[in-house]
Amino acid sequence: MIDLKSFLYNEVKKTMDLWDFSDAYSITFFVYSNEMYEFNGINNITEFNISLNNETYFNTHYDEAIDWIVPSDKYHSIQRWDYAYLEANETRILNSKTYPVLFEWYKQNGIDNIGFEDEQMFEKYLGPVGYIELLNIIIEVGKQLQEEYLEKKCGKKIPIIIQDYEFMDCVVEATQKVNINNEAKIFFETLKYSL
């Protein structure tokens, strides 16, 4: 049986081992599906990319004038947390080498019809078949990183923000679950008042 959680944890950790966290303020887990994503003839699959957001990039690109709708301090600015403004120097955790493992895991767990999305699923923001299942594993990976790895590696608490282009219910809830020690406090304050 494939242990997808351990597999993804190791893949993510392998990437993070190479990161310099000295200037970092958050980590983005971009989990998103689109009809145009395709693997082995299957469409609407989910991608999982990770990136590090650092203060230098933020301070260089932060523009106070953009925060005109909801005035805020820069730590609660949409530019600090909204994916549209992030550097998003992403590493693809799921790629041509790792997708076969994911699909094998889907198969072992009886999850078929990957990518199928009807109107009801769309309206409830559940994503296509395979999305929520993968997201749940990614939540576990994130929790394990917070418990065992990140604070030791960084020397400080750092939030993992799970994102797509929007802030769907399931994605926001995932971020709440991942940050077990309230690491994402400022993000949620921003989400509440500014985003």
């Binding site: 689109n34 004038a65 994916y83 549209a84 282009y165 926001v172």
Partner: protein, 335 residues
Amino acid sequence: MAEIINDKMEHIEYDDFGNSTDIKEGFGYDSEKHDVTGNIYLRARYYNPRIGQFIQIDTYRGTQEDITSQNRYTYCLNNQYKYTDPSGHFGLLALLAGYKATEYLLIGGALVIGAYLLTPSGKKATKKGIEALYSLGKKVYDTVKNNNKKKNTAANKVATITTNIVSAGTASIPKPNIGIAIPIPQPCPEPKHRDWNEVPNNIMKILSVLGLMSWFNVLLQKVNSEPNKYGDSMENHHIVPQGALKYKGFEQQFDFFLDDAREVIKTHFGSVHNSVNMVLIPKQLHKHCHDRNSYYYSIKCNFPITEKASNRKNAVATKLGEYRFLLMWIGTFVK
């Protein structure tokens, strides 16, 4: 708005942007004059309350400090709750402009304070409260009054202000000698980016109609300067977003904005997830199409709940088509 006519209380209802079916002609929203077409005359140009934007471009280019002021079609910096725009050039804080009948602010003070409020420093000053603004206004007024004891007629005052505003793009704004360092908004230079010269007229027209000038300007700079990290990767983009800021646990500031737009699309096309509402664009561009400010705001303005009317289907489809055409064209700029 309510008034007593022939001993009867009459009222006119407006939506947030001054649109109303109750008024055909005459003075109404913000005490300004509506013409027969429904547009409102704001001296320098006409404002269309139906789309919440001016229908002519502003001669004033805005300020470098405030990117919103650089969109030369928006009304009141897209914040009509806070600002009013009696000059047709830029927004003044509504509370202050309410005193326009008095000499208190009209003699140049309003111009200086209005311009000041558009700057980041002005925003901070706003936070300090209305009292501070009155205090500043009084100082400006006293200074101007001392310097210019000549009593202007109302027409002269308006003409003076208009002249100052129009010349603000090239000349410095009169600076009162009141001992307070008021940052003078710096007029925007001519766009340097060569790509503006390459934008065809039909795209310019769409940008104008949809109120996306400032978003487009920022986007052009981004897609030209940042490396394309995604190669040829293309994604489906929902023009009216599927569920932007829909999180049920929070009182989202923008949720109700986009809920209206989503309802309009659902009314006419059954679902937001309809090909009419979708466009295929590069991933590099898609990211920037989820900008919480200008792009989402244009969606809110262009698909108001009034578009739910049964006879509006073609108009909604046309607007979606314009967005689609525009986004596909911008996609060609991604390297």
